[in-house]
Structures are given as structure tokens and as C-alpha cells.
Symmetry: C2
Subunit: 390 residues, 2 copies
């Protein structure tokens, strides 16, 4: 295995950062002018590295050669960090330069200008081309119209040519940074479930309605939040999370007792039985709050994304490589966020390596990672790829 060239890697990262740069951050929304420039630049760099460069009909950019697929995505959030998915694409390119068993990909629209992880969903068959083309961004532009900005140079590669997918990404959370670690080997991409809850109380005049005669929906929300905290206390692990992120209060006026509230409850965990137990506990807590205060309650059917297990052999390769490069300075951890690997797992074994996010910050111009951690992760990836293509 050739030792990766960290200078060339860092220089490529900065060259990609310059396309769509905004101060320390980057704006490259899927198929906007800067994203198209970046994807054409990537295709050129792939070709220079001796890979077969290809842009497929979804705008995914490929550098095809060996059976181990590596990469991530180069599109960004509306206010994106410079590393995010770009890190995984450029790291894969540098590893591929020294390892002919490796192919590289930059998936399109991972950040969901149109759908969510659109490019890898399409390739994995989770989305049909017609469904994808009908997706619209917030201005009503369709994916089908937008993708004309980057003409395909070939078809989707046949997944059967690959033996596995290894994705490198920033953690987008505070765990590695808080613990002073260099890298994280992902155990699973957690599953997510979400319900929308409506509590219907009674809208009243905030001056004339005695406290004892109110059915105040804001109080319903705050009682629900407390009841869910209590109900989950004995079920969760430190890696489980739950969030009330969206709230719509009606009529939402200072002088009206709120008559109705609609809110989301979302929870994530790597284990299906725990997701089930959390669902039951949340439902019971909500029913009890509603019954106690006389609210009508509606809980939607859960939106559910199943957890995605990382492949055991690929995880072991990453773990051995991490222990070699940074002994005692890495850990196993679940991914709380969805990634392109979630889709690719339908086609082949997948694994992921996380680099630390300083302060846990991502999807923000301030996103950053120490250069020493970036190069350590590159070495881990190169070593793991060597083990997997040996």
C-alpha cells in the first residue's frame, strides 16, 4: 500500500473549499452553479488519478476502478461547512491514488435540496427516476429540471461491481471532540421514529377564564415534555436521544389561552427493541397527560427509518487501522445522523469512519476539524482499505 500524501490531500480539500466559498464556509446546493463546478472539477481530478470518471443521470460523480467503493457527497447545506461530505470524497480520492482496488463516488443532493440523500437513494433503488424527477426544492424547481445543469456522461454503475462501501464523514456531534479522540468507528446508523401529536384543549380569553376552568394546550405541551422525560428515564442508554423540535401553538396570541398545540416527538436509537420500547412509553405518557387534563389527543402513525448495521469485517478493518494509527485515541460510536451509507447498505456491506467536529458544530460556516485529525483519519482509511482489498 502506498502511503497517502497528506499535503496533496489537504491541498485538494482547500481547492474544493474554494468552489462556493463563503468566508470559512461553503455554499454548494445540489445542481447550483458552484455544485456543478465542483462536480466537474472532481471528475477531472478522478481522471488525473487514473480512475474512469463518470457523471451518472442523478449527478453522482464516479471515479471507477477497484471493487471497494469509497466516498461521500460534495453538495452542502444552505450554510454549509467546508468538510462535511467533501472530506469523505477527497479522502477517498487520495486513498484511490495509492490503491487500485478502490473506486470513488460523490453522491448528489445528500443535503436534501430536493429530497434527502437523493443521489444514493436513486442508485440504491429506494427512489425511482420518475419519483426523483418530481421532487421540488423550496422554490418549486424540480430535480428533473435542475439536473439538466450537469449532463450525464454515462449510466449508473452496476452495484455488483463493488464489494463494499466505506464512507468517511465528520461526526456532526460533540462526542469525539469532548473526549479528545482522533476518530470514531461507526457501529450502526441509528434508527429514527417520529410522531406528530395534536392536543386539543379549549381556546379562551386569557383575562376572563379562571385557571380552574382552563384546558390550556401550552400546559399540555409542557406536561407532555415532562411525562416523556420521566417515562424514558429507565428505558434509554446514554446513546438514545429524543427531541420535541417543532411546535405550532394555536391561536398563539398573548391574550388567548392556547386551545390547540401540534408538536413532533422524534427519537433515535441503534436497537429496534429499544425504539419499540421508547415508542410504547411515549404513547403511554401522552395518553396519561391527555386523560388527566381532559384534552383530545391525536398521535400520527410513526414515520420510521430502520437502524443500519455496519458490516463486521469492514468495522474490524477500521478498528485495527485506527488502533495502529492512533492507539487508544479512537472509539466505537453510533451515527445519530443519516448518511449515504444508509442507502448503499441496501446494495452491499457498508462501514463508516468519523472525524471529530470541533465543538460538535456542523451545518454551519463555523464547522471545522483539526488538521492533525484529518490526516490521522486519512491514514486510518488508507490502512483499512488496504486490509479490505488485500
Amino acid at each position: 500500500m502506498a502511503v497517502p500524501d497528506t499535503d496533496r490531500f489537504l491541498s485538494d480539500l482547500q481547492a474544493l473549499r474554494a468552489i462556493g466559498a463563503r468566508g470559512t464556509g461553503v455554499v454548494r446546493r445540489a445542481f447550483d452553479a458552484e455544485d456543478v463546478r465542483a462536480r466537474r472539477w472532481l471528475a477531472g481530478r478522478f481522471a488525473e488519478a487514473g480512475l474512469e470518471a463518470r457523471i451518472d443521470p442523478a449527478g453522482n460523480v464516479w471515479g471507477l476502478r477497484g471493487p471497494l467503493l469509497m466516498g461521500s457527497h460534495s453538495d452542502t447545506q444552505p450554510e454549509g461547512g467546508w468538510l462535511d461530505g467533501a472530506l469523505g470524497v477527497i479522502a477517498a480520492l487520495e486513498v484511490a491514488r495509492g490503491n487500485p482496488g478502490v473506486s470513488v463516488v460523490s453522491f448528489q443532493d445528500e443535503e436534501g435540496r430536493f429530497g434527502a440523500t437523493t443521489g444514493s437513494e436513486l442508485w440504491s433503488g429506494a427512489l425511482t427516476p420518475a419519483q426523483a424527477d418530481a421532487l421540488t426544492d423550496l422554490d418549486g424547481l424540480t430535480f428533473g429540471a435542475a439536473r439538466r445543469a450537469l449532463l450525464a456522461t454515462g449510466d449508473f454503475p452496476n452495484p455488483s461491481r463493488f464489494t463494499g462501501f466505506l464512507e468517511h464523514h465528520i461526526e456532526q456531534g460533540p462526542v469525539l471532540d469532548t473526549e479528545g479522540l482522533v476518530a470514531g468507528v461507526v457501529t450502526a446508523i441509528v434508527g429514527m421514529r417520529q410522531v406528530t401529536v395534536t392536543l386539543q384543549g379549549r381556546q379562551n380569553h386569557a383575562g376572563t377564564t379562571p385557571m380552574a376552568l382552563r384546558a390550556d394546550a401550552l400546559r399540555g405541551l409542557s406536561d407532555a415534555d415532562h411525562a416523556i422525560r420521566t417515562a424514558l428515564r429507565d428505558i434509554v442508554t446514554p446513546a438514545s436521544v429524543w427531541t420535541i423540535g417543532h411546535v405550532a401553538l394555536h391561536p398563539n396570541a398573548p391574550s388567548a389561552v392556547p386551545g390547540r398545540v401540534r408538536f413532533t416527538v422524534q427519537w433515535r436509537d441503534a436497537e429496534v427493541p429499544r425504539l419499540d420500547a421508547m415508542e410504547a412509553a411515549i404513547a403511554q405518557a401522552l395518553e396519561q397527560v391527555a386523560a388527566r387534563a381532559g384534552f383530545q389527543i391525536e398521535v400520527s402513525d410513526p414515520v420510521a427509518l430502520a437502524p443500519v448495521e455496519m458490516d463486521g469485517d469492514m468495522r474490524r478493518a477500521l478498528s485495527h487501522a485506527a488502533e495502529g494509527v492512533a492507539p487508544g485515541r479512537w472509539r466505537d460510536l453510533p451515527s445519530g445522523a443519516i448518511h449515504d451509507a444508509s442507502n448503499v447498505a441496501r446494495l452491499m456491506p457498508v462501514a463508516m469512519l468519523f472525524a471529530p467536529s470541533i465543538g460538535g458544530i456542523s451545518h454551519d460556516f463555523a464547522e471545522d476539524t483539526d488538521e492533525a485529525d484529518l490526516t490521522a483519519c486519512l491514514r486510518i482509511l488508507a490502512d483499512a482499505a488496504a486490509r479490505l482489498t488485500a
Copy 2:
């Protein structure tokens, strides 16, 4: 004193209801076509009753004769009930027909299309004519432009010609209806204070941020609601109220840990010392929640409306009259809502009589009151007016 003619009173109420009728409800926004029609119709009915009809520059309609002023307002909410202020105007007209000591008024824009209680604010001097003319409705129309739809027929009457103001209104709350009573003698119009609170936590990814590392603003809100409930428990009376009515959560997305919340806390009570004690307790509860969870907190200066005491002699006249008409079936109670009497109290003694609101419903097409209660209240008003003009 002449006995009031309940049939004529009910027939006048229905005639006014027909102007701007929408099903069981009424829409007469200050100075819209239906409000102007209603005010011209009122001026005609006042003249027919032998009163000196006058429309002043603010659009207040007067029926001038004796020193006891009675009335309320005939404009409505965007989806108004048929009684609300109209009841007090028509009841005053019927009392005036039998009592030459009575004058009648329908104030303009009590329901706040432009400001709030604009017509009585102007007459009481709380608002200058220039300030009033600059007020705008939600479409940007000014009070100054809108009032051209109803030309003045005279100037503002001199307040010194009146000895007191007696306002009849629906309760707009559930107390009388819940207790099966016929009427309520108002003790005071409660004072109101309101602050806007901002809690700044940390916005994070809802999948990647462990619970222990979050500063979740929705949790801050729900902890604040609970802390305020606990803090007020030993300070308030059953007539005190407080409300978190407006909430703005940021970024308000299902997959983001809320980073910031802004909300109003409003409280009302008839006693200034209790308003003060509630303010101190709320401020302390908010500070404790913020300190415990590491939030930055901002609390605005309070918006404050002082309580308005009802006049003792006028209250006694109403109480004696109520006990005569409906023995044991009336009670004293504070008004939790603001009324034109709040402004007129700057000029002269004021008192108020409430009729029951079925189900406590007001500002809604479904608003209603039993006919037997309407006529009982009319008799109470006529008797009280007789005592006050004897």
C-alpha cells in the same frame, strides 16, 4: 321610573344584529360599511327616543339627555358575537326611553381594528387625535382615513355634563354560566402585566447530540411553565390568572434541538400588590430555570395596565337592583377583560354589570345569552339607573 319594554329591547337587539349578520354572528369592524350603517341606525333610534343624537369626530355615537351616561360599543371582532358590546348600547337606549336622567353612547373601535378601545381612549384623553389618526389596521389603512366613512355631526361632548358611566356587557367568561347566575356586578377591571421572555440555549442536530450535552430551549419553556405554576401557587387567589399565550421556537424543525424560544407571560389581578408579588415570583422562577440549565435569559420590561376600581355608590345601586330582580342569583366578580369603562374611569365614576355568556364563549359567532337573563339584566339596569338619577 318607567318599566322597560322588554319586547322593544329584544326587537332592537335583533334589528342591530341584522346589520352585518353572518349566520348567528355579526361582523361590523370599526368604520366598515356595516359598522357605519349600524351607527347611523343607532343615531336614528336615539333621536326617535327623544335623545339628542350626535356622531363625534371619533365615530362615537351619542344620545344625549341626562347626567348618567350608559352604553358600550357596537363594533365587533372579525368574527363577532351578536351581543358583546351591542347588548350594552341597546339596553342603555331602552333604559333612557324611560328615564330622562340617562344619556347613551356607542363607543367606536372598542375591538381594536386600529388600536384598542380607540373611541373611548380618544374621548378620555389617553390618546390625542393625531395619535389616533396615525393608527393603522392590518391592511395599513389609517384611523384618520377610515373615519371619513362616518362624518361627525358634532364635537366630543364635554365629560363634565356626566356624573357617571354605567356599562353593561356580556361576561366573556364562564363564571356566571357555570354557577347558574343571572348577572354579575363588577368589582374592578383587573390590571394586566406582560413580559416577553427569551431563553437562549444551543441549537444542535437532534440525532448526533447526546441528551447530556444539550441546552434544549423547548425544555427551557416547559421547565419555565412548571416553575411559574409552583412559584405562583401560594400567591394567587382563584380570581388571579396567568397565561403563556405566544411561543416562537427556533429553528422549529423536527430534527433540530431547539436553540432558542421566545414566549409571553401575561398575568392579571385586581390588586396592585398581588400583581407586584406575581411579577417578582415569575422573574425569580425564570431566573432559576435559566441558571439551572445554563440558558441565557432576557426578560422584557413589563407592559402594565393598572386595575380600575368600580365606584362604590354605583356598585351598591347595581347590587340592590340585582337583589331585587334576581334574589340570590347574582354575584360580585372582577372583569378579566378590558372595557370602555377602563378609559372612562379617567373622567368620572364608572360601574359595570355583566350578563352570562353561555359556555363562556365570546368573540365567536356562537356567542349567546339566555333571553331570560338579557331581560333580567335590563330590569337591573333600569332600577340601578333610577336609584342613581333619583
